[in-house]
């Protein structure tokens, strides 16, 4: 993922969108693989939930895959993110393995959180994910803190904070953006605006038409992108990350997107119409759009695209098997990880 | 909040009481001031009034069971107030083993009430097998448990009678002279003697042989065990205490009764009629009471009570009279006997004796007094010595009046003679003073007309 170079690529890309100009074919196909992984992972999780293999609830981001993958494209493995309750996509986009994510969903010791976190706290710290978060807006100040560390210790890392449209009305959002701007910290705030904070639409909850408009209050760039257009998302992210890396401070990106599923498993979709959902699924699906572009720009054949899908299906099936076969935690270890073990 | 109905302390040295009867049943509506139940103490029956108006519920105070003072016996709920059921749950949740254990301990009225009554009130019944009804600190409980002491046998000196550490230490020291038959945890006293009830605190200074030691002297089945009632325990305790702490001194004198008997016959013959009955019928004992009272007035230094700090010199003579009642005795008091006429004394005694037998005396009618008379003359007893009953400093034991040969003016003659023995608390009344008192008494008895002036 790091420092994309086109040196080995012989394609004529100068009239293509940003993504295709900046990333080699392998990375483009890798991005497709991750988008499929996110969707298939969530479908697999949903099915496991319905079969009673997973307890609790989960918040699915099906339909938002381009946002997660596009934002993470310019990030290095060392760069960090904070995520949200709808965070499976961010986790996979940042490089986590789906088998350990399934294991976490199944509450197993091999899961990323040893079965202590589940869907809502899933994270692979080793790939820079500082955690999904059950509190709306909870991760935003933490991302600013991580950026403070990056600046203070001069690590060159950039931190991305994902959050939803609901979080932009939390005090933590405003306090964090303000501090990041005052201190010029290397952080990118990414609002995935899927139109509804649970059931309440942004029109009903937010005084400004675009969440990116709020950037002006904190003297940082505010960018609106089509969150279902992978290239547009990647371009916005690339510019914000570079700006952060140059020490010029934070940016706010608003990805306009849509979640196909309800807020959580208990959602009865009373606040939006089936037509609205169908319209997004039929005409604006991020994976279909991206596959179409890959075909149109001659980057992958139908067979090659199918091969990606097939590999993902196999990885998902293997992941579920891994999770099922993994050991459950023992009750005697209930209190592990409350405090750092000191010997 | 429901109002707690407790077993009140109605007697100075009362540690437990028994309810002799309830006048209302569970669920009855009562008004504040209604007589709810009657307590039988060691001395008397007391009527206890409802502390509030409402519905009587959770009546846990069983009739005829020793209940510690202050223990709840029922609750009065305001109309419409929901009945607390937490305590019921606790009572029902008591494990069967503990229930059995607690029930086996007839000593422990509180625990028994908790275990036996599913309708136990919202009290703190814990089902604790070793004395839920006893107020004791956890430390005292543990020390008592380790020493094999029954908490019920220990008088608590803490707030509200709580048994605290020092009480158990004192009790242990008291029983230290008794090396044999330690009661271990594995062989609890309650299990060994399930039917014995010893609810009233008895703190022996030098412990006699244990119950088991005594019982071993008799073949099993050769005796019937009759549980002590509270009166028996109080008598045992008070008399043990009196005999062990009061240095007794005895003075005996013979009194000729002929003049007194003659006067008595004349007075009784002349008694006016009242409701078809003679207005009075004097007994010899009535005249003994009056004579003793007048003697104390004449020898006021003998009309005293001993306290550690001072001598209480009484201004009037209040004469207690031992009255035998079923299961024991009680000593109602004729107050200010000097100032009462013989007929007044006589009628007062009849009333007191009747109510004593019916256990209807009020505490103030049997508590206190400055001396006492114990008369066994009706049994033909010639002479005996009685035990001083504190706070008295004296007690007069009266034998039978009987014809005896006497020497008068160098001649043998026959006279009706009554021997009396004065027991004195030597701390308060020395020998000579006791003798002086008896001389004065003898003077009134032998010249009875002097009692009338």
């Amino acid at each position: 993922m790091a420092a994309p170079s086109l040196a080995a690529d012989t394609r004529d890309t100068k009239n293509l969108p940003f993504l295709y100009r900046h990333y080699p074919r392998e990375e483009l196909l890798g991005a497709l693989r991750r988008m499929h992984l996110i969707r298939k992972f969530e479908e697999g999780a949903e099915e496991s939930y319905m079969r009673g293999l997973i307890h609790g609830t989960m918040h699915l981001s099906i339909g938002q895959e381009a946002s997660a993958v596009g934002i993470c494209l310019p990030l290095t493995r060392e760069d960090q993110i904070t995520s949200t309750h709808r965070g499976h996509g961010h986790c996979i986009a940042k490089g986590a393995e789906v088998k350990r994510m399934f294991a976490e969903f199944f509450g197993k010791t091999t899961g990323y959180c040893g079965g202590r976190g589940g869907s809502m706290h899933i994270a692979d710290v080793s790939t820079g994910n500082l955690g999904a978060n059950g509190i709306v807006g909870g991760g935003i100040p933490i991302a600013v803190g991580a950026a403070l560390t990056a600046k203070r210790l001069n690590t060159g890392k950039v931190v991305v904070s994902f959050f939803g449209d609901g979080a932009n009305n939390e005090g933590a959002f405003h306090e964090a953006l303000n501090m990041a701007a005052v201190w010029k910290l290397p952080v990118v705030f990414v609002c995935e605006n899927n139109k509804y904070g649970m059931s309440t639409s942004t029109e009903r909850s937010t005084a400004v038409p675009n969440i990116a408009d709020r950037a002006a209050a904190y003297a940082m760039p505010g960018v609106i992108v089509d969150g279902n257009d992978l290239s547009a998302v990647a371009q916005a992210s690339h510019e914000a990350v570079e700006r952060a890396r140059r020490g010029e401070g934070p940016s706010l990106i608003e990805c306009k997107t849509y979640r196909y599923r309800g807020h959580s498993k208990s959602d009865r979709n009373r606040y939006r119409t089936k037509d609205e959902i169908d319209e997004w699924m039929a005409n604006r699906d991020p994976i279909e759009r991206y596959e179409a572009e890959l075909s149109a720009f001659g980057i992958a054949t139908a067979e090659e695209l199918e091969a990606v899908r097939e590999a993902v299906r196999a990885e998902i099936a293997a992941g579920i098997d891994f999770a099922k076969e993994s050991p459950a935690p023992v009750v005697a270890d209930l209190a592990d990880y409350v405090y750092t073990e000191q010997n | 909040m429901p109002v707690e109905v407790i077993l009140p302390k109605v007697d100075m040295d009362m540690a437990t009481g028994r309810i002799s009867s309830w006048f209302f049943e569970e669920g009855a509506t009562v008004a504040q001031g209604d007589v709810l139940f009657e307590i039988e103490t060691d001395k008397a029956a007391m009527e206890i009034e409802a502390p509030a108006s409402g519905v009587l519920r959770n009546v846990t105070g069983k009739v005829g069971v020793d209940i510690p003072v202050g223990a709840p016996v029922a609750w009065i709920y305001a109309a419409g107030e929901a009945e607390a059921d937490a305590a019921t749950a606790v009572a029902q949740a008591t494990p069967p083993a503990e229930t059995a254990k607690a029930a086996a301990s007839a000593l422990d009225a509180g625990a028994q009430a908790c275990a036996a009554s599913p309708a136990a009130g919202p009290s703190s019944c814990t089902g604790s097998p070793d004395g839920a009804a006893v107020r004791a600190s956890p430390l005292a409980r543990r020390l008592a448990r380790e020493a094999g002491l029954d908490l019920l046998s220990i008088q608590g000196s803490g707030p509200r009678g709580r048994v605290v550490e020092k009480d158990v230490v004192a009790a242990k020291q008291g029983s230290a002279v008794q090396p044999e038959v330690p009661v271990t945890a594995a062989q609890p006293a309650t299990a060994a003697a399930p039917a014995i009830s010893t609810p009233v605190p008895v703190t022996p200074l030098a412990a006699p042989a244990s119950d088991d030691q005594i019982k071993r002297l008799f073949a099993a089945g050769s005796y019937e065990e009759i549980p002590h009632d509270s009166m028996r325990m109080t008598i045992a305790r008070r008399l043990t205490e009196a005999k062990q702490t009061i240095p007794h001194f005895y003075v005996t004198v013979d009194c000729e009764l002929d003049a007194l008997l003659k006067l008595r016959a004349e007075l009784n013959a002349d008694a006016p009629e009242k409701d078809g009955q003679p207005a009075y019928k004097l007994s010899v004992n009535d005249m003994v009471i009056k004579a003793l009272a007048l003697a104390l007035k004449a020898v006021p230094d003998a009309n005293v009570s001993w306290t550690e700090g001072a001598m209480l010199k009484h201004k009037q003579a209040d004469v207690g009279v031992a009255v035998s009642i079923p299961g024991g005795l009680i000593t109602p008091i004729v107050r200010g006997a000097c100032g009462k006429t013989l007929s007044e004394i006589s009628n007062a005694m009849k009333d007191l004796a009747a109510r004593a037998k019916a256990k209807k005396l009020k505490p103030e009618e049997y508590q206190g007094g400055t001396t006492a008379v114990s008369n066994l003359g009706m049994f033909g007893v010639k002479d005996f010595a009685a035990i001083v009953n504190p706070p008295h400093a004296t007690i007069l034991a009266v034998g039978a009046g009987e014809p005896r040969p006497v020497v008068k003016a160098g001649q043998l003659a026959i006279a009706t003679v009554m021997s009396v023995t004065l027991s004195t608390d030597h701390r308060a009344v020395d020998g000579a003073l006791g003798a002086e008192l008896l001389r004065a008494f003898k003077g009134y008895i032998e010249k009875p007309m002097t009692m009338l002036v």
Binding site: R116, A123, G131, G138, I142, G145, A146, T149, E175, A176 | -
Partner: protein, 332 residues
Amino acid sequence: MDTAVRELSYSQAIQEAMAIALEADERVILMGEDIGVYGGAFQVTGDLIERFGPERVIDTPISELGGAGVAVGAAVTGLRPIFEFQFSDFATLAMEQIVNQAAKMRYMLGGAVSVPLVMRFPAGSGTGAAAQHSQSLEAWLGHVPGLKVIQPSTPHDVKGMLLAAVADPDPVMIFEHKLLYKMKGPVPEGHYTVPIGKAAIRRDGKDLTIVATSIMVHKALEAAETLAGEGIDIEVVDLRSIRPLDRETIIASVKKTSRLLCVYEGVKTLGIGAEISATIAESEAFDYLDAPIVRLGGSETPIPYNPELEKAAVPQVPDIVAAARDLVSGVR
């Protein structure tokens, strides 16, 4: 270690500890409102900004929630922030980050991270600052697994415990009673630590154990001296840490004295005294109790402004004397 011992005030001891930590470890930073050139509302940070610069002594905006969250994020990613709330009352604004994030992050992530965060809470009444600047909220945080909550009562302890907190891999909340800031006491020079989670017996006694926290330790000691004149011999246990709680020391003391009085400034109901009492009731010390356990805590009111009312709202020395005397003499 041979170190000189001087008299320092409690706030000087804190400042010295922070200076030692800043000196020793580049990762240590201070964060808080007006801790820079102002020197902190209680002058605890003083001139540290001059010695360590604004990059390490960071004035935050008045953003308690955001500031606390930044401290959490910094701690998780490699810094060792010491975060000062200007008044402990303001931590109510930051409860989300303290309780949901800092305390739980390690657990939620299955041990993948630690949160080496120190937060300082100037707490308590007695300054006439009334209801929103005088609270004792330590029991709130003491209720949260994942946090460590301490209440040092002396200059010596606050320096040693603060240095222990900085070295601790987990979030440590330090409640500092504002009336202690000017109290002086012996403080060794240089680096030393006082363990978190160990109570201290401040006075040996045999008749009654007083378990006290923070400033109440000093009031309890004063009460104990008064009662010593009456022949009552009181043991005073300085709890120092309310999470983790040093149950062993409390239990051993009560087993020795058979009586327990808990004295703390936080509101009595559901406070630290309840936990101490329950600890004894659940322990083998129960069978050593010769009197009921008694708590003296703050009144069931906000802290009032009027000085007489303010005094009446928290336990004072005569209250402790009376309660202790009643317990020992068997009135209670």
